[in-house]
Each structure stands twice: as structure tokens, then as C-alpha cells.
């Protein structure tokens, strides 16, 4: 049997949107991932220490409340500094304030070092498949 992939999930910043987070945990588990859920109101440090502790393969950040761009600043750099440059970095939810053109938003976050960026209401099943692909390459 293939060993399980470990993913850290959580909601970053002062954000308390909990519903999507609970569903993501459920779905990723069903897809065979080892899920470490640090929940809402999590800081960058929370994500990074969880990833180190559990030797995670990926970090999936949710941000719903609109301050995602501020909250995710230097996340990639901080990961690299913590020795997590190999860890896949995904972000999704309503990651900016207001209705914006997603192409632009995606570009901005990719520049910030995120491997994949998901627009509002993305299908988490689809994301789970892409994650598997990315990790099995």
C-alpha cells in the first residue's frame, strides 16, 4: 500500500468561517489523505508548525472573509525559511475583498508563491484530485 499523504488545512487570519473547513477535512479524508486540521483563526505560524510537526506534504489555506491577501503575505517565504520549500501551497475561498476578476487574483497569489489558487465556491473533490496528481508527480 502507498503511504498516506499528509495535508495541513485551516482558515487563516481573523477569519472564523468554519463550514467549508469542516467539509474539506471530511472530503480529503474520504480521498485517503491524512488530514491535520488546525481550524479557524489560524496564523501563518500555526500552519508552519503543524506542517513541520506532521511532516506534511501540502498546506491548504482557506480564507473567506476578504483579508486573505494581507494574511498570506510572505507565507511562501516563511515556509522556505522553515525548511518547507518542498511543501505544496494551495489557497482557496473568497481570498480577496469584493468581486474581482479571478485571473488577476490567481496571478497575484501565484506570484506570492502559491502552487494553486481556487476561486469562490470551488469544488473540493476536484481540488482533491489535483492535489493527488501534484503529490504523485
Amino acid at each position: 500500500m502507498v503511504s498516506l499523504h499528509t495535508v495541513v488545512i485551516g482558515v487563516i487570519g481573523a477569519d472564523v468561517h468554519a463550514v467549508g473547513n469542516k467539509i474539506i477535512e471530511h472530503v480529503l479524508k474520504e480521498h485517503g489523505f491524512n488530514v491535520v486540521n488546525i481550524g479557524v483563526l489560524s496564523s501563518q505560524e500555526d500552519f508552519i508548525s503543524a506542517a513541520i510537526e506532521t511532516d506534511a506534504d501540502a498546506i491548504l489555506i482557506s480564507s473567506l472573509y476578504g483579508h486573505g491577501e494581507m494574511d498570506c503575505k510572505y507565507m511562501k517565504e516563511n515556509c522556505v525559511e522553515a525548511g518547507l520549500s518542498h511543501v505544496k501551497l494551495y489557497v482557496g475561498g473568497n481570498i480577496v475583498v469584493g468581486k474581482q476578476d479571478f485571473k488577476d487574483v490567481e496571478q497575484r497569489f501565484k506570484k506570492m508563491g502559491f502552487d494553486r489558487v481556487y476561486p469562490p465556491g470551488s469544488d473540493i473533490e476536484e481540488a482533491a484530485r489535483q492535489l493527488k496528481e501534484d503529490l504523485e508527480q
Binding site: 472564523v16 471530511h26 483563526l41 483579508h67 474581482q100 469562490p120
Partner: protein, 490 residues
């Protein structure tokens, strides 16, 4: 140990001194009670939210109110003015930003500066504490309609001081409803104390002859919350507020989606709140209701969002809600532009206009639903009082600890999170996992049978998957999750 007892004036004033030091704007002399009372007494009738609610209740109106707030004063005024004139909103909000909600005033200060520089709002709301009484007065003076502060602040004491001293006649929030859906680890003991303070402040003004409206936040997590649970919390917060001297209370409820359940919920919310207020000796509290348009996930299609908004308005008006919090066609995407916000308001407005003189006739299913809600609320309140040894403040703390009260999908560690809701065949929200809810077998088997009927129809077992399907359903255009699959094959 926090108790449901009116805070003695001295204790209140002592605490007040400390609260006003939390940020420098607290030292404004406009916060002296003489000034504040004078200011509040000078509020003209058309800007007085408490009075406007009395008028609406008498006339049988359902008022419209959006959510809205930006970082800078002038922009906020422009926004509210637009929603008033173009959106025809009856009531206006000042939605507070997330930093202020967490009492992070220096972060908010930075964001204000940054917003001025970049000439666009970097905050998801209006930082009222940072702008202080003067800033809030500017907003109050510029706008021709009542404004209410709406937030989600576990410790909203300084914020509430500033809101009222600037002439604000209404404030949303409560020790439970602004904790469990909005926080992770802060204790109920603390937030109940903070919100007793806020209510005591309103009670203080009441003693000075000023009626201020208070509104517990009804929808909680907005996600498949059974009416009896949100009702119970609304009633407890109303009781806690009344104890501190609040005389004008609006209890809230977030749309479930089943029309009969929603109307049953609105009707029972009002009668039960009145009943329990009287039962516990609060004879002279004026109660109104607020209906929140669908608080769960929205579809991304704007026309479909408008469909939901209008359906919600239908239910609010037929259910005689005194006011209604509107959504916008941008809901699924992000904070709405002022135009999108006005679109939601206008669709809501015409529906209330077309229906305001119509009544929703009573029927057997409606009565059955009302009975169920009443029984459940009674059971929950009784058990809460019981574990609190006769005190609702202690009761709430203990009840959440034991799971006697439990809110689905709340992020807080103070919430047991054991119960699971799901919809039955017709889309009523029922309970799939009861956790430790103190319901008798009669109630439980009613829920169980309803969910089994649905499961049988769908050829599957009653399970968490049903809940998940229901969470997604509305954003995909259906009320009950099962129809999603059925649709695909037709």
C-alpha cells in the same frame, strides 16, 4: 461568577472607566454621560431606530436593511447615502471591520492610513472605535435614516459606548451570538459579562428616558441551524438584556428555506420571546423580529442570487418580520459594490411592497411546525435554567459545556459541536445527531422519522453525507441535497 443580575450602577461606572481607556478615542468628552444623553435626546424621529421599529410594527411593515461598511468616513457616508436613496433602504447599517471586532485598533489604524493612501477601502467594515464619537457623529449627521451598528464583536464595550454617544440608537450583538459563531477560544463567561455591560449601558440610557434598540444576532452560523436552537439563544439574550434594563429588543432568525418552517419560526420567535420576557417579570419590553435572508452559501449566478433574495423577502413579509437584512447578488463572490447592494435592496423592497397587505393563512402544517418549535424551545430553556440552577447566565455556560445547547458548525471550542442537522423531504431542517440536546423521545422520533422518509426516498442511509449535500444544495439551486443527483440524470 457571572449571574443574570442587573449590574449595580457603581460597578458599571467603575468598569466603564477602564473600558474607556482601551483606545484613545475613549477619552473624548463626548463620552461623558451628560453629553451623550443630550446628543441622544436630540436625535430626530426619522433617524431613531427604536421609534422607527415601533412605527413599522404598528403599520405592519417589513423594513429593509443592508450590510455595509468601509474604512473611511466620507466613503462610508457616500455608501450609506447611496443605499438610502438608490437602494431605498428603510434602515441603514454601520458594519464594523474585522480588526475592530477583535479589538485590534492599531491594526485598524494602519489600515485606515493605507486606505487613505490607496484611495480604496482595505477594511471589510467601518472602524468606528478608531474614528471615535466625532467620526461617527459625522456619519449620523449626514444620513437621513436610522443607522445600526452591526458587527460580531465578542468584546463590543468600547465600540458600543462610541456608537451610542454619537447618537446611534441601535446595536446588534450578544454574549452568545457574538461569541460562538465568531470566535474560537474566548469563554462564554467573558462574553456574557461584556454584553451585560453593553446592555447595562442601554439600561442606563433608558433610565435617562432614552430608548435604544438592541438586537441579538439570530442566524448564528447561518448553516442549517434548527429554529429552536437559534430561538432559544435569542430568547436567553433577550432575557439577559432585559435584566440590564433594555426596553426595545429585536430578535432574529435566519431563513431556513422551507416556507412553512420559516413562517412558523417567525411567529413563534415573537410569541415565545414575549412570553418568556413576561414570565421572568419583564413586562414593558417592546419586541420586534428581524428576518435574515438566506445566510448560507449562495450561488455564484447573480440572477439566481436575486431569486433567493426575493424568495426570502416573500417569507419575511408573509411572516410579518418587522425588518429584514438583505443580501446582494455578489454574495457568493465577495463584499458587494454599492450597486449590487442596492439591487438586493430594491428586489426586497418591491416584494415587501406587493405583499405587505397580505396575510399568510394558518393551516395544519403551519400549526404543527409551530408546536414543534415551541416544545423544543421550552425543553431547551428548561434544561438551561436547570443546569444553571435557576440562573440563565450560568445556565448558558454550563449548557454549552454539556452540549445541552449546541450550535451546528460553530468554530468555538466552547461549543460541543455534536449535533448534526439535515433536511427532510420537504426541506424542513431536522436533526440527525442530537448530541446531548435535552429532547424527549417524542421530539426525537419526529425528527428521525422525517429524515428516514427522505433517506428512503433517496435510497440511502441517514448520514453526514446528507448534511453535506444540504450545505451545498442552495448554492446549486435546490433546497434538499438529494435532488442534485436526481437532476443530473434527467
Amino acid at each position: 461568577m457571572v449571574k443574570n443580575k442587573k449590574i449595580p450602577l457603581e460597578t458599571f461606572l467603575e468598569t466603564r472607566e477602564r473600558v474607556l481607556t482601551h483606545w484613545h478615542t475613549g477619552s473624548d468628552e463626548a463620552l461623558d454621560f451628560e453629553h451623550a444623553v443630550e446628543r441622544l435626546k436630540s436625535v430626530p424621529e426619522e433617524k431613531d431606530l427604536a421609534k422607527k421599529l415601533r412605527w413599522a410594527k404598528e403599520e405592519g411593515k417589513t423594513l429593509t436593511q443592508p450590510r455595509a461598511g468601509v474604512a473611511l468616513i466620507d466613503d462610508h457616508i457616500e455608501l450609506l447615502d447611496y443605499l438610502s436613496k438608490e437602494g431605498e433602504a428603510d434602515l441603514l447599517p454601520t458594519t464594523i471591520d474585522s480588526y475592530t471586532r477583535q479589538n485590534r485598533y492599531s491594526n485598524a489604524e494602519d489600515a485606515i492610513k493605507e486606505s487613505k493612501k490607496k484611495k480604496r477601502s482595505l477594511l471589510n467594515g467601518f472602524p468606528a472605535v478608531n474614528h471615535g464619537v466625532k467620526g461617527c457623529m459625522k456619519v449620523q449627521d449626514a444620513i437621513d435614516k436610522p443607522i445600526q451598528a452591526r458587527h460580531g464583536t465578542p468584546d463590543g464595550r468600547l465600540l458600543s459606548e462610541i456608537i451610542h454617544a454619537s447618537g446611534g440608537t441601535s446595536n446588534e450583538g450578544g454574549g452568545i451570538s457574538y461569541n460562538l459563531p465568531y470566535a474560537k477560544s474566548i469563554s462564554l463567561e467573558d462574553t456574557i459579562r461584556y454584553w451585560q455591560y453593553v446592555d447595562r449601558l442601554v439600561g442606563y440610557y433608558a433610565e435617562a428616558g432614552i430608548e435604544i434598540n438592541r438586537e441579538p444576532f439570530g442566524p448564528l452560523t447561518g448553516t442549517l441551524v434548527p429554529p429552536s436552537i437559534s430561538h432559544t439563544i435569542a430568547i436567553i439574550e433577550a432575557l439577559l438584556a432585559a435584566e440590564q434594563g433594555v426596553k426595545n429588543i429585536t430578535v432574529g432568525y435566519g431563513q431556513c428555506g422551507n416556507v412553512v418552517q420559516d413562517i412558523a419560526a417567525l411567529e413563534t420567535l415573537e410569541t415565545l420571546t414575549n412570553y418568556y420576557l413576561k414570565l421572568f417579570g419583564h413586562e414593558d419590553v417592546f419586541v420586534t423580529t428581524v428576518f435574515h435572508q438566506w445566510m448560507g452559501g449562495f450561488p455564484s449566478d447573480e440572477s439566481k442570487a436575486m431569486g433567493i433574495i426575493s424568495l426570502a423577502s416573500t417569507v419575511a413579509t408573509l411572516g410579518n418580520a418587522t425588518k429584514m437584512i438583505t443580501k446582494s447578488p455578489h454574495e457568493s463572490a465577495g463584499i458587494p459594490t454599492k450597486e449590487a447592494n442596492a439591487e438586493g435592496l430594491k428586489a426586497s423592497k418591491i416584494v415587501t411592497g406587493l405583499l405587505e397587505e397580505q396575510t399568510f393563512a394558518h393551516s395544519r402544517p403551519l400549526e404543527r411546525e409551530k408546536e414543534l418549535i415551541k416544545k423544543e424551545v421550552n425543553a431547551l430553556l428548561y434544561a438551561t435554567l436547570n443546569v444553571g440552577k435557576g440562573d440563565f447566565a450560568q445556565g448558558v455556560i454550563e449548557a454549552f459545556k454539556q452540549g445541552v445547547l449546541d450550535i451546528p458548525f460553530a468554530p468555538s471550542e466552547r461549543n460541543m459541536g455534536k449535533i448534526l442537522p439535515a433536511r427532510d423531504e420537504e426541506g424542513h431542517i431536522r436533526i440527525l445527531e442530537f448530541g446531548n440536546l435535552p429532547f424527549d423521545d417524542h421530539i426525537k422520533s419526529y425528527h428521525e422519522r422525517a429524515l428516514k422518509r427522505r433517506a428512503r426516498k433517496e435510497g440511502r442511509d441517514v448520514s453526514f453525507q446528507m448534511t453535506i449535500d444540504d450545505i451545498y444544495a442552495v448554492s446549486r439551486g435546490k433546497l434538499v441535497g438529494h435532488t442534485l443527483k436526481k437532476e443530473q440524470t434527467t
